[in-house]
Amino acid sequence: MIQLENICKQYINHNHTVHAVDNVSFSVAPNERVGIAGGSGSGKSTLLRLIALLEKPTSGNLWLFGKDVTSIQNYTDIYRSMQMMFQNPLAVIPPRMNLEAFLLEPYINYGLMDIAAAKEDIRQWIQHVDLPETIVNKYPHEVSGGQLQRVVLARIMLMNPKLVLFDEPTSALDAVNQKLVLDLLQKLHREQPFGYVFVSHDIGLLQAVTDRIIVMKDGQIVETIESKRLKEAVHPYTKALVEASL
């Protein structure tokens, strides 16, 4: 589903070249749950943005759903199957748009169904993510962060994506809401299988929600390990991340 081959991303900062992502190669199979762990500045979020086609790699090749996407200009077809969940839900919803209008957008843009049917579908999705139906009449600033993140998750899932990219989606939430969102994610994955790449600095969290964890440091992959065998990690950096998460 995803294949990266020698992907590099460099920035020039005050005449100094920063290797944000340095020669990274890996692949993700359909419905596979992959975690990317690492500290601040390890390149994990940049890597996710490269996969999300929000940035272009300096070099290397990227295939999504079997297509070489390094040279294409129009991503509309790719985004029909690939979605991304960001860290701050308040930042992804326009402040002057109510939640129903926000949820209706993919139906209108991709012509998924007529408005009346879409509203009914939205009602079911809102119930499905354990939120009150009346929430759709509210504006983003009137809703809590945890509830908003579930609204965002509903909008992503109603598009029936094959791949979802999660960029630390629970890091801005309190422990209770964090658990609610993660439990919901697992429930949705069981009901409607899709592959995902979950980026987090918390390797313990990744162990709970992924099958495989890629550990990054200074833009490079230092170790790839099955989540259930995390205690058998050999790289000192991975061990340090595991210890820090306990």
């Binding site: 999300a52 929000l54 991503y75 509309t76 985004y79 029909r80 690939m82 979605q83 991304m84 960001f86 701050n88 930042a91 992804v92 919803i93 326009p94 402040p95 002057r96 748009m97 109510n98 957008e105 993919p106 843009n109 991709y110 009449n137 509210k138 504006y139 600033h141 009137e142 909008r155 598009m159």
Partner: protein
């Protein structure tokens, strides 16, 4: 949406509507023709016949202020309307287009902003001659750039917002992003700026008339009335006080509307 109703804005809008309607109705409510002179009635004090007295040529001050308001407000609205529309269109294009187009349009905006309003306007009117049309054109030549710069900045901020990225991922086209996402967030602050600039435009037009390059006597306009009355500051101060008061009330009213609108359009309140 459970929000407190913007009563201050409603009150201000009603007051402004009444104030504007009052001057628009000048031909119906003015007791005298604003340009008819009567030397026998010159410099009369307040009376039941002349509510605000008469000027040095015996013209009714109340009638001249009513007609002058119609001219001043009309010119200010036209200047702000034309320069606002041009500025928003050019600024929006610069903010939303490719870096190359943005660079060229930004240079043009900076170039125009580099020239002081007054110098350009005086030069333009000097060449074309003083008239209401030339006052409007001369101010629009430079004023659009202010709105273009503000619009460009606002659009640039919006287009890099995370919700635009998220919208693109949900299949939104450029046109839809502009219409559904950027415009609703850019227009409210722009409307506030434009309304607050109405007061500035009235003062600017009055200043032009005051230095003799705006509306020409005997046409009534608040600045022109001030200009023609400046020699009577000590002997007949009402000739300057009343038009000055009219300018002051109008400017304050539009500034208050701008403030009330800013509070009302703040979605987080």
């Amino acid at each position: 949406m459970n929000r407190q109703k913007p009563y201050t804005l409603y009150v201000m809008l009603v007051l402004a509507a009444l104030w504007i309607a009052f001057f628009l109705c000048a031909p119906y409510i003015a007791p005298f023709d604003p340009e008819t002179t009567s030397i026998a009635d010159r410099l009369q004090d307040i009376s039941s016949t002349h509510l605000l007295g008469t000027d040095q040529l015996g013209r009714d001050v109340w009638s001249r202020i009513l007609y002058g308001g119609k001219a001043s407000l009309g010119i200010a609205f036209t200047i702000i309307g034309i320069s606002g529309a041009i500025g928003i269109a050019i600024g929006g294009l610069a903010g939303f287009s490719t870096p190359r187009i943005d660079r060229w349009l930004s240079r043009l905006i900076d170039l125009v902003l580099g020239f002081p309003n007054m110098v350009i306007a005086i030069a333009f009117i000097g060449i074309m001659g003083p008239s209401i049309t030339n006052v409007i054109i001369s101010l629009c030549i430079t004023k659009w750039a202010e709105y273009a710069r503000i619009t460009r900045g606002l659009v640039q901020i919006e287009r890099h917002a995370e919700y635009i990225t998220f919208a693109r991922m949900s299949g939104a086209s450029n046109l839809r992003i502009l219409w559904r996402y950027i415009l609703p967030n850019v227009l409210p602050p722009l409307v506030i700026v434009i309304i607050q600039h109405l007061g500035d435009a009235i003062i600017l037009v009055a200043s032009f008339s005051l230095i003799g390059i705006g509306v020409q006597p005997p046409d009534p306009e608040w600045g022109a009335i001030l200009l023609s009355s400046r020699d009577f500051l000590q002997t007949a101060p009402w000739l300057l006080i009343y038009p000055g008061l009219a300018i002051f009330i109008t400017v304050v009213l539009f500034n208050y509307i701008g403030d009330a609108l800013r509070d009302a359009l703040d979605v987080s309140r």
